[in-house]
Symmetry: C2
Subunit: 206 residues, 2 copies
DNA sequence: ATCGTTAATGACTTTCTAGTCAGTAAGGAG
DNA sequence: CTCCTTACTGACTAGAAAGTCATTAACGAT
């Protein structure tokens, strides 16, 4: 029998780490609680000391992950010393593209995408904790750019789609739809190219 | 006992229609074969006369759905009489935004997004049958624009992300992440705004 | 009408896993 | 050392659902 260690404080985080790993490999429904427990170095029973149910684990996990990336993006924007909207937008897109190229980071949003349909609560949680904040971040940035006279005054809902969409597409193309034969372009190249299009558009003369 | 009707030719399609409905409500794992059968007006056993297994149904479904939208987009581009790249791109984005605003149409890509992680075969199928074709469609359109002198010569991988991404974002925001309190902007408005940004960018003076 | 073939049924078996709980080891207090 | 509390175990239960198959109804041909 395996040695049993007592350290209850660290358990919930350890379990959620394991859960993220297993969930993103097999999906929520395909994940076995016993596998999560094993990966966290525990027995199945112990998991139920910390979480009511498997579904409760999923919610706790998404809650924990929700603000990681958006929080980082917010501080990135907040700590921009000179408030140059164009430069800040460029930096923001680059940061997000780089982050989302890391499978460990993108595991969270991918999990949410996969399960939000089946668990509306997850979708609502993500909408309020992540999307709403991203929307506001962009809105403020847009206001700044307009005030500086460098940005056109664009509808915020459209801007959100135009900025976040390519990042999502990149994430999907470099994970679930990736062709193992030929790897996609490097994150820096993508970030560079995307900001270029978002800022200047596809047409010449701009 | 219910009346039994014999019409084997129509069955596979009817079953797949039912499967799409049930899968997009509850996800693949949550769907019960018996529910799919019931919705198709059959018993569970009959389903297994037409499909080897539940997973085989999913693959057949994705295979059937794969080219619907992309095929339509291809003919749309092909039947553009005057080969004006800008106008064609505008029309293409508008068409896709409108299509993907319809939950019945977007059910297919949403299902693929949700299940591609767990079933790599699904991801590969979609990559080859849908994404590759979209990539080529855009590449040709881009070449045309460059030849006409209206488009800048942009990396195709970047262009794919810049065009498809906002559409995916729109689809997600108007389905899984939609706020029932306030509906998002109408598809025509979104299409109009997105083409505007893709063509001219966010900056002024373009 | 009868018979053979095929479409379809639904009860059954099998498998799998979420969640439970009686019991066990570790550590601390006295 | 002894007892008590607490973290943990793992065998067990209960339920659900995939896939099977012996049986039955419908149809077409003779």
């Amino acid at each position: 029998m395996a040695r049993r260690v007592r350290r209850p404080e660290a358990r919930p985080d350890e379990i959620l780490d394991a859960a993220l790993a297993v969930f993103s490999e097999t999906g929520f429904a395909g994940a076995r609680v016993e596998d999560i427990a094993a990966r966290a170095g525990l027995s199945k029973g112990a998991v139920y000391l910390y979480f009511e149910s498997k579904e409760e684990m999923l919610k706790a996990l998404v809650r924990r992950l929700a603000d990681r990336v958006v929080g980082a993006a917010e501080t990135l924007v907040a700590t921009q010393p000179q408030a140059d909207a164009e430069k800040t937008l460029r930096m923001l897109v680059t940061f997000m593209a780089t982050q989302l190229s890391d499978p460990k980071v993108s595991a969270a949003p991918r999990l949410v995408l996969a399960e939000a349909q089946r668990f509306p609560e997850i979708g609502a949680l993500y909408r309020d904790a992540v999307i709403a904040r991203g929307r506001q971040l962009l809105a403020r940035l847009c206001d700044l750019g307009v005030a500086q006279g460098t940005f056109r005054n664009i509808d915020r809902e459209i801007l959100l789609r135009a900025c976040a969409g390519p990042l999502i597409a990149h994430m999907l193309l470099s994970t679930v739809f990736s062709d193992p034969a030929k790897p996609g372009p490097a994150p820096e190249i993508v970030a560079q190219g995307l900001t270029d299009i978002i800022l200047h558009g596809v047409l010449v003369q701009s």
